[in-house]
Symmetry: C2
């Protein structure tokens, strides 16, 4: 039996206001929870799972704080439209204060608003071996359910930092800063890079003027048809596939 | 005043069951509705709009069947979480019976389930000048609100055909059929093409065996990090950016 106070607490984490005050987030579904369990420092506080998940994961479940719940209880606490066997309360990830941009590729997100885009971009970063993303403070919250779920586990491997992006960028002297724009160098003829920051702009407004001031190379994905733009996550994937 | 029967009718189009029986679909928001209006044969049956949209689009609104409604009425009929000024009832697009695959690139979707992915893929196709997509019948319904909205207007320029994909593919003799897979030729070293069919598989299961039987070239996006896979729409964008 799930106590009422815990049920209410987990439900409240669906709201950004409460989630921002708390040091924890909610992760759901076998894929994500099992990826979290497999991490070096998983930070799992408590797991709420159906009987079948517990039986299938007996060896790990025995070592963790797992509570068996009913399907009805899972439906009540789940933040998903289709609850999926298991829900974990997890400590928010710690991010290092020092961000190193030397000898690596870093993504910078200038106000990505859509949680699905944010999650998909984290997954793309992980695919291309990029382990850090810098966002400005107004970007989508990575602990939003939709973000967490659409990273498909990549949230465990990519550090996301929130800061004042334009300020931070202006301090990265000597590091090339690339930006996805509608007018710039053709991405299909740009040389591969091993060091640099790639800036992706807001879905509707693109890159802000303050951020643009630090950009050293504008990159364009050539348009052959009539769509006005590409989705921000798709553009990120295309550019990385050509420059990494 | 919106009559109750019309209000109920528009609401019912939010359900797949009713939408499939009716020859119309719902399009919302100024961007999409204005793109529809700009089409050669827009097929707009009726527009329901707030006063400000009608005033801003006076020249076109005068020629169309436009009914002014209140914000509360728009909230009632809208299929969006955030209703946006205008909603149009539109005749479903006619697709030609003859599908020509000669001298062009065609996308084939093997059971894409997520409406957001379907819409984003239509938008990517439009960006790369691809004007037809063949889907198997189980793929996401293009008249689903989420699909329509995430195409950002590209639904007006890309024909989507539903058929038995494996049957259809097996009849396309002499046309190269490419497939996005986890093991295949590196996309970054494949030559550009001007004719062929690119198959994108289901989000979780990939490409089915029946469809795979017609594939002539498997393509892989090289993975540099640890994510298990890429989002289907992102993979579509990456592959097209290298082969178109």
């Amino acid at each position: 039996m799930l106590v009422k106070s815990k049920l209410k607490y987990i439900q409240s984490l669906g709201q950004k206001k409460f989630r921002q005050q708390e040091p924890v987030f909610v992760a759901e579904g076998p894929k994500l929870v099992n990826e979290l369990i497999a991490m070096e420092n998983p930070g799992i506080i408590e797991i709420f799972a159906l009987k079948n998940w517990i039986e299938e994961n007996k060896s790990v479940a025995d070592k963790l704080n797992v509570q068996e719940i009913s399907t009805i209880e899972l439906e009540k606490i789940s933040h998903l439209t289709t609850p999926n066997q298991v829900l974990a309360l997890v400590k928010k990830f710690e991010t290092s204060d020092e961000i190193t941009v030397k000898n690596k590729i870093t993504l910078a997100l200038d106000n990505i608003q859509d949680p699905g885009n944010m999650g998909t971009i984290i997954r793309i970063a992980d695919w291309y071996g990029i382990d850090q993303i810098i966002c400005n403070a107004q970007s989508a919250d990575i602990y939003n359910t939709k973000v967490i779920q659409s990273t498909m586990g990549s949230i465990c491997r990519v550090q996301v930092h929130y800061t004042t992006l334009s300020n931070w960028l202006s301090k990265q002297k000597g590091i090339p800063v690339y930006a996805a724009m509608l007018n710039g160098e053709d991405v299909t003829s740009i040389n591969k890079i091993t060091e640099g920051i790639l800036v992706i702009g807001n879905e509707a407004k693109g890159i802000s003027d303050e951020v643009l001031a630090s950009v050293t190379t504008k990159i364009t994905i050539p348009q052959k048809g009539k769509a006005e733009s590409l989705n921000a996550a798709v553009a990120t994937g295309i550019i990385l596939s050509h420059i990494v």
